[in-house]
C-alpha cells in the first residue's frame, strides 16, 4: 500500500530559517521533512511520509492573513497531500494563530484532514479548536518529545479515517461538540455517585460544564490621551451615502470599513444609516449623532487626543446573531490591533 502523503507546515524558527529577524519571510516549500517533521517521520515509519514542508514567517503570516493563507494553500496543494500537519506551536501566539488558520483553510479548501498541536492557552487554540483537531501540548518546545508522538498518533487516526475517541482518550483539545455515548452506569446511578463525591469534597467531573458569558478583564487606562490614537466603531450602521457595501438593515452578514481621513463632519449629503431597527431620520440628518466624527476631529485639533484613527468600522446590531457579531468584532479587532490603536469608542443605538 502506498504510504499516506503528508505536508507539514512550520514557521521560520522550526523551519530552521532563523529567529525573529526572519519572521517576515514569505511562504516557500521544501521537499521532504524539516526539523520536527523528521521526528514525526521517525514515528510514522513507512505508513505515512512527509512529501513536503511549507515554511512561512510568523510576522508575515499574521500581518498578511489573506494573501499568506492563499500562498500557503497553493504550496500545500501542489504536493497533493492526504493530510496536513502544522506545528506543534506550543505557546507561541502568532505561530499558533498561523497553524490554526492554515489548518482551517486547508480543511475547507482541500477537504483533507488537518491536525496541529498547541498549549491550551495559546490564543490560536481558543480561536480554532472548534474547527480543527488540536493536540494538547506543553507550553514550550522543551515538550517536543511528548508532543510529537501524540501529534503523530492523532494524525494517523485522522488520515485513516478512524473513529475519533473522546478528548481525554485521544489527547486533543475539546472542540465543544456534544456527542452521545453509552456510559457503564445509568444516569441516576451516576448522579448518586457524583452527589456522594461532591458531599465528600472529592473531585468530580460534571458531564455538562455550564457555558458562561465570559467577561473580559478591563484593560488598563490610556496613560496620555494627547498621544493616543483612538478608533471609532459603531453598531448603529453609519455608512457612506448610498451604502456602498450594501450592509443589510438587520441580521447583517458583513461589516463595513470606511476611510474618514480628511473628513471633519458627517453630513446629510455624505453619510446615512443602514440600521433598520430604529427611526433613521435623526441619524440620516446628521450621522455625527451616532458616530461623533465632528467632535473627535475638534478634540484632535485641540490636542486633547493624539489622533482619530482614519478608518472607522460599522455593523448593524439589529437582529445580528451573537455568533456573527462576535465574528465581526474579532475581525475588526484584528485590524485595529495591526494599526496599534490605543483605545476604542464603540457607539450603539
Amino acid at each position: 500500500m502506498a504510504s499516506i502523503r503528508v505536508v507539514h507546515y512550520l514557521n521560520q524558527f522550526f523551519g530552521q530559517i532563523g529567529g525573529e529577524d526572519k519572521a517576515d519571510i514569505t511562504p516557500f516549500s521544501k521537499d521532504g521533512p524539516v526539523g520536527p517533521g523528521t521526528a514525526l517521520a521517525k514515528v510514522w515509519g513507512d505508513d505515512m511520509s512527509i512529501v513536503g514542508t511549507v515554511i512561512c514567517g510568523d510576522t508575515y503570516f499574521n500581518e498578511n492573513l489573506d494573501t499568506a493563507t492563499e500562498e500557503v494553500i497553493a504550496l500545500v496543494a501542489s504536493y497533493k497531500p492526504d493530510l496536513l500537519v502544522a506545528g506543534p506551536a506550543f505557546n507561541a501566539g502568532r505561530y499558533g494563530m498561523a497553524c490554526g488558520a492554515v489548518c482551517a483553510a486547508i480543511q475547507e479548501k482541500l477537504k483533507i484532514p488537518v491536525v496541529t498541536g498547541m498549549y491550551e492557552e495559546n490564543p490560536g487554540a481558543d480561536m480554532y479548536k472548534k474547527d480543527i483537531y488540536i493536540v494538547k501540548t506543553g507550553n514550550s518546545a522543551a515538550q517536543m518529545r511528548t508532543a510529537i508522538p501524540a501529534l503523530a498518533r492523532l494524525a494517523t487516526r485522522l488520515a485513516k479515517g478512524e473513529v475519533m475517541g473522546s478528548p481525554a482518550e485521544e489527547g486533543y483539545l475539546a472542540r465543544g461538540i456534544r456527542k452521545n455515548i453509552f456510559h457503564e452506569q445509568r444516569g441516576s446511578a451516576r448522579a448518586v455517585e457524583m452527589l456522594l463525591q461532591k458531599l465528600k469534597g472529592e473531585p468530580f467531573t460534571t458531564e455538562y460544564p455550564m457555558p458562561v458569558f465570559d467577561r473580559v478583564s478591563p484593560r488598563p487606562a490610556i496613560k496620555d490621551l494627547s498621544k493616543a490614537k483612538i478608533a471609532l466603531v459603531t453598531s448603529g450602521g453609519i455608512v457612506p451615502k448610498g451604502n456602498p457595501d450594501r450592509i443589510e438593515s438587520s441580521s447583517a452578514s458583513k461589516f463595513g470599513r470606511y476611510d474618514i481621513s480628511g473628513i471633519n463632519d458627517l453630513t446629510e449629503e455624505t453619510f446615512e444609516t443602514a440600521h433598520g431597527g430604529y427611526d433613521p431620520v435623526y441619524a440620516n440628518k446628521d450621522a455625527d449623532r451616532v458616530l461623533p466624527v465632528d467632535v473627535m476631529r475638534k478634540l484632535e485639533r485641540e490636542g486633547i487626543i493624539g489622533k482619530l484613527h482614519d478608518v472607522y468600522y460599522a455593523t448593524v446590531g439589529n437582529g445580528t446573531s451573537v455568533a456573527n457579531s462576535k465574528k465581526y468584532a474579532r475581525a475588526i479587532g484584528e485590524e485595529l490591533k495591526q494599526e496599534h490603536v490605543d483605545g476604542i469608542i464603540l457607539t450603539s443605538t
Binding site: P211, F213, G319, S321, V322, A323
Partner: protein, 130 residues
C-alpha cells in the same frame, strides 16, 4: 378577568381580542418576537411569562406569545441575562430551521398550543398587581 393590563408580544395570529391586554403583533419568526421582548425588557417592562414556554423544540415552535407588564420600571438585569441565554438557544437552533412543509401541516396545532400556554400564563397572573 381582573387582570391588570398587560402587554403581549406575539406572532401568533390567533392571539387577539384579549381583555386587558395590549397586543403587539410581530410579523416574523419567534426570534423576532424574542428580540422585541429584549427591547421591551431593556426599556423597563417586566417579563411576566417565560419566553420559551412549552417544551416543544424551540426552533420547531414558530409561534410565540410572551407576556410583559405595561408599566415601566428600571430594567431588570437578571431577566436580561436570562433572555440572553434564551436568545442564545434560539439563535443556535435557528440555522436548522423548520421547513415550510411541516409548518403548513402543523400551523394550527402550533398556534393552539401557544395560545393554550398563553392562557395558562394569563390565568396564573390574574389578580396579580403588575
Amino acid at each position: 378577568m381582573d387582570l391588570q393590563k398587560v402587554l403581549i408580544i406575539t406572532n401568533n395570529p390567533i392571539v387577539k381580542n384579549i381583555d386587558n391586554a395590549e397586543i403587539c403583533f410581530v410579523r416574523g419568526d419567534q426570534r423576532q418576537v424574542l428580540y422585541q421582548v429584549l427591547n421591551k425588557v431593556a426599556g423597563g417592562h417586566s417579563l411576566l411569562s417565560h419566553p420559551l414556554a412549552g417544551s416543544i423544540k424551540p426552533e420547531d415552535n414558530p409561534y410565540r406569545s410572551v407576556v410583559l407588564s405595561i408599566s415601566i420600571t428600571e430594567a431588570n438585569l437578571s431577566t436580561l441575562s436570562m433572555l440572553e441565554y434564551c436568545l442564545g438557544k434560539v439563535e443556535s437552533g435557528a440555522r436548522e430551521g423548520m421547513d415550510s412543509w411541516r409548518l403548513n401541516h402543523l400551523a394550527r396545532d402550533f398556534q393552539m398550543i401557544d395560545r393554550e400556554l398563553l392562557d395558562n400564563a394569563l390565568q396564573s397572573l390574574s389578580g396579580r398587581q403588575v
